[in-house]
Symmetry: C2
Subunit: 421 residues, 2 copies
């Protein structure tokens, strides 16, 4: 673990998401179409492919092959937990205030350390399968109350297992990729037949996701207390949702085109090692889950999360909600143990979303559906316009961070603008 008091020779403000305690991984190019792995430090990106070329990983398990000269993190992720720990340790040494190796090598430093504002951050991972869970009790209760009434809000299975479903991997985009409003079939309650057109109820879902670093053989479940060795890191995730398309299509096989057009993620993958100091207990589970879902120790993380809207007329974003990852009823270790308990083989790069993270209060709800309570409580923006769902030209931004003493371990933003259909 990197000491909370550690500092880097790269200047990092106390409000910055990327101090030496973080060291998240991403994929970037410097406008040269050459994709490689970078690590964020302050307002800069350290080019790990260049660091490897310079021989600075020579005493690690990663010495032989430059896994950082790659268009995805998958090669590095597939090396396993010990390699991840060694890489983090080595990068931390190289960036540490008192280590001269890189600090005093101006030629290598200027080659390998790029201002973040001058690089393109791209999809960090080649995703195999994308699964989305539904693990916030507050979210499931809110949505259930809206559609089935307070007494039937949670389905009978909800308190017994982390409900989830498969999403679409081909339409997961990195922050900054604009999202086109989807068209599709919808049917108004009073209409005799469905009609075709642009979705009118475009929504976000504030989520987080975790990436599998290493998978499992088909037929061999990952036991819950082994799950942590398979999880590489986390991202912020916006599960874009077209509520009108979803409503008409989803019975009986679940959401499909109402979700499949786009999912946005943050470009930086924050490792479980960086998040470890912020591990906290999950909400108490009652009834006690079946033994295969029983985790030893705390399963949640104290990650503050916010979402914002900025219309084309607004000069700065307005906050829509503030919530926390720790509110989730089902934690990621339970999600992964459940996912594989039937023998499902998972692979390096698989992504699992948390489901919308809503908190216990009205100002901590994680979707417009909940914030505006099914359109009955519109919000007014600083530009004077009203929203129940999103309009074309709106930019939606999610950020998130863990608060240390005098530093933050953050995720950067995931932001995307809505283009007309």
């Amino acid at each position: 673990m990197i000491d909370g008091a550690a500092t880097s020779w790269v200047e990092v403000s106390s409000e910055c998401d990327f101090p030496i305690q973080n060291l998240p991984y991403g994929i970037f190019d410097a406008n040269d179409k050459r994709l490689r792995v970078g690590v964020a430090i302050g307002d800069s990106v350290l080019d790990l492919a260049a660091i490897h070329d310079a021989g600075l990983f020579s005493n690690t398990m990663l010495a032989d092959e430059n896994v950082f000269a790659s268009s995805s993190l998958n090669g590095f992720m597939s090396k396993g937990r010990e390699a991840w720990t060694q890489a983090r340790q080595r990068i931390s040494e190289l960036l540490s205030s008192d280590n001269p190796t890189l600090r005093d090598n101006s030629a290598l430093r200027s080659q390998a350390l790029k201002p973040m504002s001058q690089v393109n951050l791209l999809m960090p991972v080649a995703i195999g399968d994308f699964t989305d869970f539904y693990s916030s009790k507050e979210h499931a209760t809110n949505v259930g109350t809206m559609f089935r009434g307070k007494d039937n809000a949670l389905m009978p299975n909800w308190l017994h297992l982390p409900v989830g479903y498969h999403g679409r991997a081909s339409t997961v985009f990195a922050s900054g990729v604009d999202i086109r409003r989807p068209k599709g079939q919808t049917k108004a309650d009073e209409a005799a037949a469905p009609s075709f057109g642009a979705s009118r109820l475009l929504d976000f879902e504030l989520e987080m996701g975790f990436f599998l670093g290493t998978g499992n053989q088909p037929g061999e479940p990952i036991e819950i207390n082994q799950t942590k060795d398979h999880i590489f890191g986390m991202v912020l995730l916006n599960d874009w949702s077209a509520r009108d398309i979803q409503k008409w299509e989803y019975v009986p096989l679940g959401p499909f085109l109402g979700k499949s057009f786009a999912t946005s993620i943050s470009p930086w993958v924050v490792t479980m090692d960086a998040l470890e100091p912020f591990r906290v207990a999950s909400p108490k589970q009652d009834p006690t889950p079946l033994p295969y879902l029983g985790l030893d120790g705390a399963g949640a993380f104290d990650i503050q999360l916010q979402a914002f809207i900025q219309s084309e007329k607004m000069t700065e974003p307005m906050r829509l909600t503030a919530t926390n990852y720790k509110y989730l009823y089902w934690n990621m270790f339970q999600q992964l143990a459940h996912h594989t308990v039937n023998g499902t083989g998972m692979r390096t790069g698989d992504l699992c979303g948390s489901g919308t993270i809503s908190g216990p209060t009205e100002d901590s709800r994680g979707s417009m559906l909940e914030i505006c309570w099914k359109g009955t409580k519109p919000i007014t923006l600083p530009d004077g316009s009203e929203r129940k769902f999103f309009a074309d030209g709106d930019t939606v931004i999610i950020n998130g961070w863990c608060e240390g003493e005098g530093y933050r371990v953050g995720f950067g933003d995931v932001r995307a603008k809505i283009l007309p259909a």
Copy 2:
């Protein structure tokens, strides 16, 4: 199109699935761990990597790069329809009775033509996303009748759109890979709480699937009459299902662990060019679908399908059902147009399953759930044992073919044995 009367210098019986009219593609190795693309002809496999190395694709679009020296068909598929047509034309020439090029070159022939019994057939395609539809009206009606009664059998959306959902790509296996019975949570109707254990209601679903050869840009739907240019070919598909796990978990987000443990496909991908002579009209659709689902011309294919069971005590398989792909209410062109109408970007190698294909009669139902009508009509096997669902040790086999005049265009088998949990 290859003439129905065409013949090959490779001997092919009239009952064989692989005459010169077929020429399906697969991936194989000859016990040498060297994976490459092959084409089935009679009881043999033609090694296309070797044919390419010998310069025999030199006058085609595939001349420059040996896309057949690969562990998947994806490279070849990504080249597009014109390349597929050129390859088929060239392979057909080389295998034609009157063409001496390969026929009379005994050195190349012995190198490139392998007995099918002496090679390993492997997963043909690196699948990006796997989608499963639910497009048989008879199946949806049977299942709906069992669970909701005859009057509410079809959901209100069913006749208006091809209902579908995302499945799991990492657990699609080629024929011959054994399937381990899944464990999971189930809850008996009369039980107060769920319990954990091996699934007791393990079922198959007789389906077919199509592979995307070329995809589309996100935000740019594939117009229905363009869909045929994107579809490379078809396989048989067994969508293994654990009914007890599925029943407890699937509300409200659809099937997850009840399906995700395994899907089996046939190793040979039969191209749309080979299937073209067997194109027939789909069932009449009432109400008329919205214009984006309106296909010009016939959308179904006359493909006879059968499923068999063989317990460990049986010396030969017993037929469970005989149905036909042409019974599907929603055709594959409608499925693909619907899938992308919201702007979903699809990719080379994406797989779309048809959903269980049940016919209009009792002996044409495509799952044990339907054949044994929710366990109320067990079947007796030749070994004297009874089945409502599958037992450990059972092998399930699906085959399928189009019947030409004096020849068949077939898919081979997809078979898998059930291992104990």
